[in-house]
Structures are given as structure tokens and as C-alpha cells.
């Protein structure tokens, strides 16, 4: 539990503080894996399989998310020639 908390905190910190979009991605993966650790350990404590099943779902979703996310990053890099998120502000209102 402490491990998962630490990993999650690193993920959140990385997500908020880094400018490189690839690092942000890795932070997201860290957060997701922290959640997985949490799910599995709780599942073990409670002797309930549902937590582990959910962890598999999370892994599958994380894989899909990584694939699509990286595709977006590549498309973005081709257009903008940058991987820094603070230079991407087309959505500014």
C-alpha cells in the first residue's frame, strides 16, 4: 500500500511538473500501475478475485491508451516540431 502510494505520488508530481509530453505519459503509466498494485494487494487481503480482474482491465486499457497517446504525440510532433506541452495551447478560449 505504501509502495503504491509512493508510486502514485511520483506519477502525479511528474504529470504536473514536467514539460516533456513523453515524461507526462510515463507519469500516467506510473499512476495506473500504482492503482494496479493497490487493487491486487487489496484483493489479496480481502480474498476476493474481483480486484485482480479489474487490474487486468486496467492493464488492457493502459495499453490501448499508450498506443493511441503515442500516435497522437507523433502526429503532434510532426505538426508542431515540439514535445513541450506548454507550447501547445490551441484550445485557449
Amino acid at each position: 500500500m505504501i509502495l503504491s502510494t509512493v508510486v502514485f505520488a511520483i506519477g502525479v508530481f511528474g504529470f504536473l511538473s514536467r514539460r516533456n509530453i513523453i515524461i507526462i505519459f510515463m507519469s500516467i503509466e506510473l499512476m495506473l500501475n500504482a492503482v494496479n498494485i493497490n487493487l491486487i494487494s487489496l484483493s489479496h487481503y480481502l480474498q476476493d478475485m474481483r480486484g485482480q480482474i479489474l487490474a487486468f482491465f486496467v492493464i488492457a486499457v493502459a495499453a490501448a491508451e499508450a498506443a493511441i497517446g503515442l500516435a497522437i504525440v507523433i502526429a503532434l510532433f510532426r505538426n508542431k516540431a515540439t514535445a513541450h506541452v506548454d507550447e501547445i495551447h490551441e484550445m485557449k478560449g
Partner: protein, 637 residues
């Protein structure tokens, strides 16, 4: 399926078909549906009327329309003797006018529209006469008003026509307001709006009074006068008569059907239908009689000097409607409805013949006509018959009904009766005078238009002349149902209507009746002869009279300046209030203030909110994380 249901719903079906498919598919074949529908409903009406003659009176509710607490309205039909007469008039005269319209409206770009509205009008008119409660009456009443508006403004690209349509609608609002109040009063008093229970209970409230603005008012009188208010608007009596002459901007068949034969007589029909209420209120009866008589004389004198052929006939219609109200006002409802019935024929004929003339010369000014006799013999003869009938020449339809009214007025014995009798007798002089002035100026003498116009003069096609001939036969013959007993007839008409409207008490002998009849007939013939002298023999006299009595002439020519009076006392102040108060303050400040202010405030708020959206995903992420932190802190508290 009940046979009588075909009567109103065939025209409705024709309206729906024409209005939906008329523009693209049917176009110039619109008359097939409309004419077939109205002839079908005429046949159904004849069958129904036969049933009524055999004593089969229909009164049934088909469908519950509105229920709200104790207020219940049904779509129900009451077909009795009075309705039967109206059904024959509406569908019979209507059929002929529909057929006539095929020729008259031929080639107009709104051909399908014309027939749709005409069919819709007939539907509402039939609902008006067939309904068995006041709400159905009101439905038809407003419906015919709406169709009248559509059809007066049929040539809507002409400003005068569009204005006349609006005028008719707005003036009718005044009357309908009173009528609606009357219906409300009936509901409040009786708790129902069905005819039969209302008329049965009305005796119980005779003499009751109600407190109105601090005055004790007789309840029956109040209801009767409010209802009559509606009749004044719809039947164009003083002071709401101003719309009818302007309504002549509509196509001529419309003038004939709506503004002569049917819709304008709805007021008379309603008063006759509500005779149980009116009979209990001598005050209301006297008002009806006096308003009718005054309108009758007023309109007849105006008609004497007008030059527009359709307006002359329109004023003549006003005058005849006034006479019908005179009859109702002295209690002789049967005579009023009898006159309604004969009037429908001869007045529709006058209008249609005038339409035939207009079709040939392309304008309405009788001063620029003349000598049309040899070009349009059929139109001439039929119009001559109509004028004879309208003028009350013995033997024709108009004579019997008019004489019945004059005699009823005299025989009612009251002072009001005598007063209206004098006026109506005076009108009996003017009616043939202006009718024949019109005929002589139009058909006799030399043509006074241009050579170009003279070249184009021609008799109308047979689709126009055949309805004229049939109506002429009607204008001669329909009065024979009601020949009074003193002339050896059976007064069948009055007998037929007796179960509905009762029979007035007459104070007079047969000798007196003969004397009255002789007097009015000789007055009518005098009018005719004077018209002949003025406009055939010594044509200088009218010009000289107009010059010597120029004040009277100008007052009459300008219709007693009623329009001008209304313009100054009603329209000007209303426009002033509209422009300077409502336009400047309510509209500009209050309404526009709200309408523009609300979006402006929202705009400003949104402008402030926009700054939050930086477009940087990490800003959003920080806000989200902060939110999560706050929630966690709250939960752990």
C-alpha cells in the same frame, strides 16, 4: 355514419385537399373538389331538411370537446326548422356562387387558394348554424370571421384590400368581445352552454338583477344586449357597420356569399336562435328594433348617392339586415328569417350580376358605365329581376318578406313598433330608388366609358350566366312559401318556423294589413318611378339636386362622415398612444431593455469566464489535482 355529418365535413375535406395539394398538384382544377363538396352537402342538406319537415329534429352530442370542472362542451348538432332554413340557404346559394366563381376567378394565380378558403368558410358557417351549444356557435362565428378576413384581403398585393381585411377583422373584434362576454354570462348564470337547457331555464331568471359597477342591471337584458353586441358586429349594424362597405374590395363571389347571403346574416340567425332570451327582455328587443331601423334608413340614404356598383349593393345589404333586426325586435322572428332567406337569393343575384358587369368593363364606377343592356342581355334581365325583388314589387320574393316585416312592425302595437314602422316604410321608398338608379345608370342610356372599353364589352360565359338565371328564378319564387294569409297563401314559412321561434301577437285586422301592404307597395312603386324619371327621362334633375342640396349630398356621399369620426376619436388616439407611449417607453425601454440586457449580461459573464480556459492541459490537471486534494481533505476531516 349520420347523413347530416356530410353537410359540414364535405367542404372541410375539400378545404384540406385544396390547401395541401393546391399549389403544386391541383392548381386550376381546384374547383372540382370544392364544387363537388358543396353540391354534395347541398344534397345532404335537402335530405336533412326533408327529415325536419317530417318532424324529425336532431339534437345530439357526438364528442366531448372540453371538460373543465363543471364546464362541459360537446361537439353536438341541433338541426331544427331554423337550422334547416339556414342549411338550404348556405349550401344552395353557396353552390351557385361556387359554380359562378369558376368563371369569375378563372386564370387568377390564387385560384386554388380562393376555393380552399371558400370551402373553409362554408364549413365554419355550417358549424355555426348546426351547433347545439354556444361554444359551437362561437367557433363558427370566429371561423367565418377569419375566412372573411382571408377573402376580403384575397388580392393582398392591393393595399386597399389588405386594409379592408384588417378593418373587417378589427371592427368585428368589438362585437365579438361583447358576444364572448354574453356567452360567459350564460355559463355563469345557467352552468351550461347547451341551447336546450339554457332556453328552458331562462324563464326562471326573468326579473333577476345583477350588480354591475354599482348599478342594478336586469340579468336577462344584460345577456341579451351582450349577445346582440356580437350580432351588431357580424351583421354590420350601426355603429359597427363601417367594415362591410370596405369589404367590397374582395372578389365579387365573396361579396355575394359572405357579405350578402350568409355570414352577415349570422347575427340575425343568432338573435332568432336565442329568441327565448330576447323575448324576456323588452329593453333588449327595443334596442334590436331601433338599431335595425336606424341602420336600415341610414344605409339606404347613403346608397342613393354612391357610385361604386358594389358599394351600393353593400349599403343595400346593410339596409336589409337592418330590416331583419327590425322584425326580430318586434318579435316576428319568422319574418326576419324569411327575409334573410329571400334576401340571400336576390342579394346574391345582385352581387353576381354586378360581378358579371365588372367582368366586362373592368371597373366599378357606374358613372362610367351605361347602355350595357344590349351587350349583356342575360345579366341585365337577371339584375332587373333582383332589383324588383329587392325593391319589394308585388309578386316577387322580396315583396312578401318585406311586407311581412312592415306589417309585423305595425301590428306589434307598441310605440317602438310604430316608430320603426315609419322608418321601415321610408326605407321602402329608398330601396327601389337606389336599386333602379344603379340599374338605369349601368344598363340604360349611352355608354360613358372609353371607346377601348366599349370595344371589349361582352356577355359573360355560361358558367356565370347559368347561376344568375337559377338565382333569378329563386328571387322570383322563393317568397311563395310565405304568402300571407290575407293574400290567400298559407304563410307556410312562419308555420314551419313556429316550433322554434314562436309567433308574435298581432294587433290588427285584415283590412289594416291590406292598407299597410298597399301603402308600402305604392311607396315602393313611387321610388321606382322617381328613379326612372331621374335617370331615364330627365337626367338633369339629379345633378341639379346635388348642386342645390350640396350639403346633404356631401354628407351622404361621405357616408355621414362615420369613418372620419372613428378616425379622429378612435384611431388617432390609439395610434398616438401606440407611438408615443407604447412605442417609446414600453417597447424601447422595457421590452428591448429586457431582451437586449439579458444577453449582454450573459456575454459579460462569459467574457470573464473565458480567461480560465488557457488551453494548457497541465493547468487543467493542476486544478483537477487541487480539487481531488480538497475532496480528500474534506473526507478525512
Amino acid at each position: 355514419m349520420k347523413a347530416y355529418l356530410f353537410i359540414p365535413f364535405l367542404p372541410l375535406a375539400a378545404f384540406i385537399i385544396n390547401i395541401l395539394f393546391g399549389r403544386s398538384l391541383i392548381r386550376d382544377k381546384a374547383h372540382w373538389f370544392s364544387c363537388a363538396a358543396i353540391i354534395g352537402s347541398f344534397i345532404a342538406a335537402v335530405i336533412t331538411a326533408m327529415d325536419v319537415m317530417h318532424g324529425k329534429i336532431i339534437n345530439e352530442d357526438l364528442y366531448t370537446w372540453i371538460i373543465a370542472g363543471s364546464f362541459k362542451v360537446s361537439v353536438g348538432f341541433l338541426i331544427d326548422q331554423l337550422t334547416a332554413v339556414m342549411l338550404i340557404v348556405v349550401t344552395g346559394v353557396g353552390s351557385l356562387i361556387f359554380i359562378y366563381s369558376i368563371g369569375y376567378m378563372h386564370g387568377d394565380k390564387g385560384y386554388y387558394r380562393f376555393f380552399s378558403y371558400l370551402s373553409l368558410f362554408v364549413f365554419f358557417m355550417l358549424m355555426l348554424v348546426m351547433g347545439n351549444n354556444f361554444i359551437m356557435l362561437y367557433l363558427g362565428w370566429e371561423g367565418v370571421g377569419l375566412c372573411s378576413y382571408f377573402l376580403i384581403g384575397f388580392f393582398f398585393d392591393k393595399k386597399a384590400a389588405a386594409d379592408a381585411g384588417k378593418k373587417a377583422f378589427i371592427v368585428n373584434r368589438f362585437g365579438d368581445f361583447g358576444f364572448a362576454l354574453g356567452v360567459f354570462m350564460i355559463f355563469l348564470t345557467f352552468g351550461t352552454v347547451d341551447y336546450v337547457p339554457v332556453f328552458a331555464q331562462v324563464k326562471n331568471i326573468a326579473g333577476q338583477t345583477i350588480n354591475l359597477l354599482g348599478y342594478e342591471v336586469n340579468l336577462v337584458t344584460l345577456i341579451a344586449l351582450l349577445l346582440f353586441c356580437g350580432a351588431v358586429g357580424k351583421s354590420a349594424q350601426i355603429p359597427l357597420h363601417v367594415w362591410l362597405p370596405d369589404a367590397m374590395e374582395g372578389p365579387t363571389p365573396v361579396s355575394a356569399l359572405i357579405h350578402a347571403a350568409t355570414m352577415v346574416t349570422a347575427g340575425v340567425f343568432m338573435v332568432a336562435r336565442c329568441n327565448a332570451i330576447f323575448n324576456l327582455s323588452p329593453v333588449a328587443m327595443n334596442v334590436v328594433a331601433v338599431v335595425g331601423a336606424v341602420t336600415s334608413l341610414f344605409a339606404a340614404t347613403i346608397a342613393v348617392v354612391q357610385n361604386d356598383i358594389k358599394r351600393i349593393i353593400a349599403y343595400s345589404t346593410l339596409s336589409h339586415l337592418g330590416m331583419m333586426f327590425v322584425a326580430c325586435g318586434v318579435g316576428a322572428y319568422a319574418a326576419g328569417v324569411f327575409h334573410l332567406y329571400t334576401h340571400a337569393f336576390f342579394k346574391a343575384l345582385l352581387f353576381l350580376a354586378a360581378g358579371s358587369v365588372i367582368h366586362a368593363v373592368h371597373h366599378n364606377d357606374i358613372q362610367r358605365m351605361g347602355g350595357l343592356k344590349k351587350y349583356m342581355p342575360i345579366t341585365y334581365i337577371t339584375m332587373f329581376i333582383a332589383a324588383l325583388s329587392a325593391g319589394g314589387v308585388p309578386g316577387l320574393a322580396g315583396f312578401f318578406s318585406k311586407d311581412e316585416i312592415i306589417w309585423s312592425a305595425f301590428a306589434s302595437g307598441s310605440s317602438v313598433g310604430t316608430f320603426v314602422w315609419i322608418i321601415v316604410t321610408a326605407v321602402a321608398f329608398f330601396t327601389p330608388f337606389y336599386s333602379f338608379r344603379m340599374i338605369f345608370l349601368t344598363f340604360h342610356g349611352k355608354f360613358r366609358g372609353t371607346h377601348h372599353e366599349e370595344h371589349h364589352l361582352h356577355e359573360s360565359p355560361s358558367v356565370i350566366t347559368i347561376p344568375l338565371i337559377i338565382l333569378a328564378a329563386g328571387a322570383i319564387g322563393v317568397g311563395w312559401f310565405g304568402i300571407p294569409t290575407v293574400l290567400g297563401g298559407g304563410a307556410h314559412f312562419a308555420e314551419f318556423l313556429k316550433p322554434v321561434v314562436g309567433h308574435p301577437e298581432f294587433h290588427g285586422t285584415h283590412a289594416q294589413e291590406f292598407a299597410i301592404m298597399g301603402l308600402s307597395t305604392s311607396i315602393a312603386v313611387t321610388g321606382l318611378v322617381i328613379a326612372a324619371i331621374f335617370y331615364l327621362v330627365k337626367t338633369g334633375i339629379p345633378v341639379m339636386l346635388a348642386r342645390n342640396f350640396s350639403v346633404i349630398y356631401r354628407i351622404l356621399f361621405n357616408k355621414y362622415y362615420v369613418d372620419e369620426l372613428y378616425h379622429y376619436i378612435l384611431i388617432k388616439p390609439t395610434l398616438w398612444v401606440a407611438n408615443s407611449f407604447i412605442g417609446a417607453i414600453t417597447d424601447a425601454r422595457i421590452i428591448e431593455g429586457i431582451v437586449n440586457g439579458v444577453p449582454k449580461a450573459i456575454g459579460r459573464f462569459a467574457e470573464a469566464l473565458r480567461k480560465v480556459q488557457t488551453g494548457l492541459a497541465q493547468h487543467y490537471a493542476i486544478i483537477m489535482a487541487a480539487g481531488v486534494m480538497i475532496i480528500i481533505m474534506l473526507m478525512l476531516w
